[in-house]
Symmetry: C2
Subunit: 363 residues, 2 copies
């Protein structure tokens, strides 16, 4: 096992002790609330971390893309929810093939999309489980709460589909200025979704699954009675945005980028060998502010080009060429997606190489 000091940079390091603690803590929180934990594996896209999550009691995996579901199905995962409004006959055929070996559910948020899936399953004499995506305020996808019952009726009537329940993603929590505001979004997210589920049941429609949660809102949303499932993703790694949102402490961050200082400019500038092709250009949330924090330093990465991270050197700090730094990225999910593998480290040594599967398959 190679010492971390011998690893070529830039490299994506996963502190395995922190990772395991994060996995265990969220699993325990879900258990204590009697809620099923279905981690969003888009964050890491690694078989090993997904297996860790399952071993800690997860009920299955959440994913966003058909190609991700195919990759995890190949790796042996048997319960997958695609929290995405998958549409079209070509994707429907792939879902049909997937559902041979996987207990599969898929999101729907409109009648046209639902019909495009139903036709393929109905023609094959099969049934696809679907959950209705409800927009609780993020205004990305999802049916408005007041329109949910009407859509649920129409979806429930489509042969080839079986309505299993409702789900949501309260992404607007990422814009909240304070942890109290995040908590408020989490409570409101759950309350709205539980209310929609109750309306469906009152109308005689099925709503056995009531699935909420992002990493920031999970602790608040899964505390609400009536919630059956929670789908946080980034909690396994955490990142600078989660610290800024108050979702975790800096020491709860498992994923860092190891980089080397390659140039030291004259005027308060240092440059590291991690740029936007390693750190991504995703902004810090909830308020933009640089492109990554240097651990143990006040200096921040001020701007990026593809292979350069330009550090604004804080007063009193200095960097030397060849020096190695650890960077806490703004957004862990997009960083992991930029590498072929993550390096699992413990006690200063690389303990495991974790291949990032289902990346690069943009379709």
């Amino acid at each position: 096992m190679k010492p971390v000091d011998d690893v070529a940079t830039p490299a994506l390091l996963v502190d395995l002790d922190v990772l395991e603690a994060n996995v265990g803590r969220m699993a325990e929180a879900a258990r204590s609330h009697g809620v099923g934990l279905r981690p969003h594996a888009k964050t890491h896209k690694t078989v090993e971390i997904a297996a860790l999550q399952m071993a800690a009691g997860a009920v299955g995996l959440c994913l966003a893309k058909t190609s991700e579901a195919e990759a995890f199905a190949r790796a042996g995962f048997r319960d997958i929810f695609l929290a995405y409004p998958v549409v079209g006959a070509d994707k429907a055929r792939r879902l049909l093939a997937l559902s041979d070996s996987v207990r599969l559910s898929v999101g729907v948020d409109g009648e046209d999309g639902a019909r495009s899936l139903a036709a393929t399953f109905h023609a094959a004499g099969r049934t696809l489980d679907v959950l209705l995506e409800v927009d609780v305020g993020f205004h990305r996808v999802g049916v408005a709460p007041e329109a949910a019952l009407g859509l649920a009726r129409r979806v429930a009537e489509l042969p080839g589909l079986r309505l299993r329940g409702v789900f949501t993603f309260a992404g607007h929590a990422y814009s909240c200025p304070t942890p109290d505001d995040v908590a408020g979004v989490g409570r409101s997210e759950a309350q709205t979704l539980v209310g929609v589920a109750a309306a469906l049941r009152d109308a005689g429609l099925p709503a056995e699954e009531v699935s909420v949660g992002s990493t920031p809102t999970a602790p608040h949303a899964m505390a609400m009675a009536g919630v059956t499932e929670c789908r946080p993703g980034v909690y396994v790694f955490n990142d600078a945005s989660q610290v800024s949102l108050g979702s975790c402490r800096p020491e709860d961050c498992a994923l860092t980028v190891l980089a080397t200082v390659v140039s030291v400019g004259g005027s308060g500038r240092a440059v590291v060998d991690a740029g936007s092709k390693c750190l991504s250009s995703d902004p810090l949330r909830p308020r933009a502010g640089g492109h990554g924090w240097l651990l143990g330093r006040a200096s921040r990465i001020a701007w990026l080009s593809e292979e350069h991270g330009v550090v604004a050197v804080a007063e009193g700090e200095s960097f030397r060429v060849g020096e190695r730094v650890r960077i806490l990225p703004n957004h862990a999910c997009v960083v992991a997606n930029l590498a072929d593998r993550l390096l699992g480290v413990r006690s200063g040594r690389v303990e495991a190489e974790l291949p990032v599967v289902a990346r690069g398959h943009v379709e």
Copy 2:
């Protein structure tokens, strides 16, 4: 050959007619100025497009990372310039191995970095060609013009290195509000670098290579007497930023993202299945403005999450679920880096799959 209509989305399409025209046009411009063209292959990271550039008369490839150079060397490319201040003994050992089969040059912008390369080559009884990176105003890496001669003297004295010349990258052209300003940066870039080279020669130091150029500044910089080489990258594809900068026409853009509308919201919102894991979060240059243009539409992609592109639907336009759209991305180089392969298309059919090599190897 599959019709483009049957391709799963999101997919990265390369219009081969446009690509070939772009490759030919830049090659002809360099030829007409008597300047060597060394395309920066980080833009496409495909062997096939690099081969097309070489066939059109390129003198070699420019790359940014040791891992990229290794991938292109494996594919048989024999003249590579790493336009990056590579530092450290581990990278130096890899460069040494590379230089067995490749005519290799590497950038240096400081004495410490240069020493870290020199030691390995000197110990092996070998010599590494280096070019001094000069900062002509971008303020990223590079030695200031007034300090270049001093650094050149110290680098030239290091056993294990051979100083071949100077290079620069005028990235500040990407902030220019008008094409005239871009042209001014290009002229100034070349003038400064030619001046530095003359000062080196006056001092008896070698400066046989004087290497300039980005896609926006290339036509202006390579027109200057004394310039020997030009290293544009994104011209093979172009993108929305190049159109905005005035470097090309919309019809000169070869790389587009094929996406499917997956959701149509109530209030002027449509969502496509290309998000930041496909389009990247790189901003439009020179002025930020959305995350991609929909071809043939006035609507723009207003914001992204990982697998969602949220379209602000322009007045008078509408979208339906299942409809396919073509997106001109802000920045082609980071988009190609997010996919395992590009699809070369001609006359509505997929003519070639172009594997993106040297991606995911973040080190």
